[in-house]
């Protein structure tokens, strides 16, 4: 089949394409993990959902351990209960995902935050941990 090679570009068959996709995804995962664990010195932690900043539990220079509370957010929680969408306002605390040190506090209580937009806390994490 003269055009067989051309038909699947760099891959000889779908089997090769499947294996290449497995390698590509593994490579992406490794790059992201190495980047976050060893290359990025600090991360700006942003709100994971829209809400109002209620309290910041840490101060600049504080050492934090994985699981320590960083800040709390007043959010509207939406949940289906008995096939009805229930909305209630709740205050949720968010914790550190890795050991590290607080470099900067950017938010202040009362700030209205948009998901993934404003930085609340800048955290320097220990090398080799995933913030």
């Amino acid at each position: 089949m003269s055009d067989k090679k051309k038909s699947l570009t760099v891959f000889k068959s779908d089997r090769h394409e499947d294996v290449a996709a497995i390698f590509a995804s593994a490579l992406i995962v490794v790059v992201v993990l190495v980047y976050m664990a060893f290359i990025v010195p600090s991360v700006g932690i942003k709100a994971s959902q829209d809400g109002k900043l209620v309290e910041i539990f840490v101060t600049e220079g504080t050492d934090v351990k994985k699981g320590d509370k960083l800040y709390s957010l007043e959010v509207v929680k939406k949940k289906w209960v008995n096939n009805v969408m229930e909305e209630k306002v709740a205050v949720e605390s968010f914790t550190a995902k890795a050991n590290g040190k607080v470099l900067k506090i950017s938010g202040k209580p009362g700030d209205a935050l948009k998901k993934g937009k404003q930085t609340i806390v800048v955290l320097e994490h220990e090398k080799g941990t995933l913030p």
Partner: protein, 369 residues
Amino acid sequence: MEDKGLFGKILAIVPGLAVMIGTLYVLRVYVEPWMKDAVVFGSKGWLVQVLSLNYILLSILTGMFYRNILFGGKIPAWAEEGFRTTRLFIKTGVIMLGSLYTFDKLLKVGGVAITLIVAFVFGTAIFVLWLGKRLGADRSVTATMAAACGVCGVSAAVATAPGVRAKPVDLALSIATILGFGIMTMFVSPFVGKMLSLSDYQFGAWVGTGILNSGQVLATCLAFNPNFAPGTAVAYGEIWNVVRVLCIPFVVFFITAWYWKGEADAEHVSLGSILASKFPIFVLGFIGMTALSSLHIIGAEGSETLHLMRDVMAWVFGIGLVGLGAYIDVREIKAAGGTPLRIGLIAGVSKYVIAMIIILAFIPKEGAF
């Protein structure tokens, strides 16, 4: 074909790939934010909220625009090799979706997904075999359409065709029918889902069960809710999709066995050889990714690491979807007709509507995770 060597092959990919990446960049960075703020019919964000025109659908639509209008119906030679990486990107995205689950979450939903899919896959296949006979369709057309309507659309037709000696014209018409139906449901389903206030769980389960072409399930879920996170439509739809893909070899075996049973020169059909040649290996990557997630190796839920990973996943998918759109030729879909179209419409609409009824009756709005 001249052998360009590895470097030459990689170089040939660059122009088309640059178009795909550049397109997604413009859509995500400029177009989607503009659409979120645009006021249409006096409502801010109407285009995104009502028409579900988020970057996922925009990627596909732009790809279709390139192919059908800008390129005049054919991907030009300079972009061809780059656009051929489409499948690699989407498969990579699908494997990475495995990171949204842990095995216990998969087990919670897996039972429901397997029950619904097995019932719908074999129910539809048997219905189409009966319908084909009623309509006096050729046995190879009936067999191809039974596989296509039953399980994964075009992939199932492609997997079944050689085994049932499908004819090129019938195959072309079958593929156009399935693709056309898939594209239509991709744009209609998010609208219907929002109109009926379906939850992410119900929507994922519905489109995962009811859409003919599995290739459109993830895009439809992402059109409904573009977030990649546990508990979103794509997280549920993907479980359904994986179960469907795993069903392909079994459906091919069932249909091929049916076909040869009615032929004079019967051929021996073995499930083992079908599994060996049709098993979708990339699903193993998906399971591997779920294993990493279950072992908490890829970052905690809510971490910036997972946030970045999901952002990369969204880009990988988006790039693939621009390419996917460029493989959709509207002329070819418009040419669909004949018996495959009749079978496809009857089976497709029935499956879509019955799946909706079953979901509304038996699947709660509360997600399993």
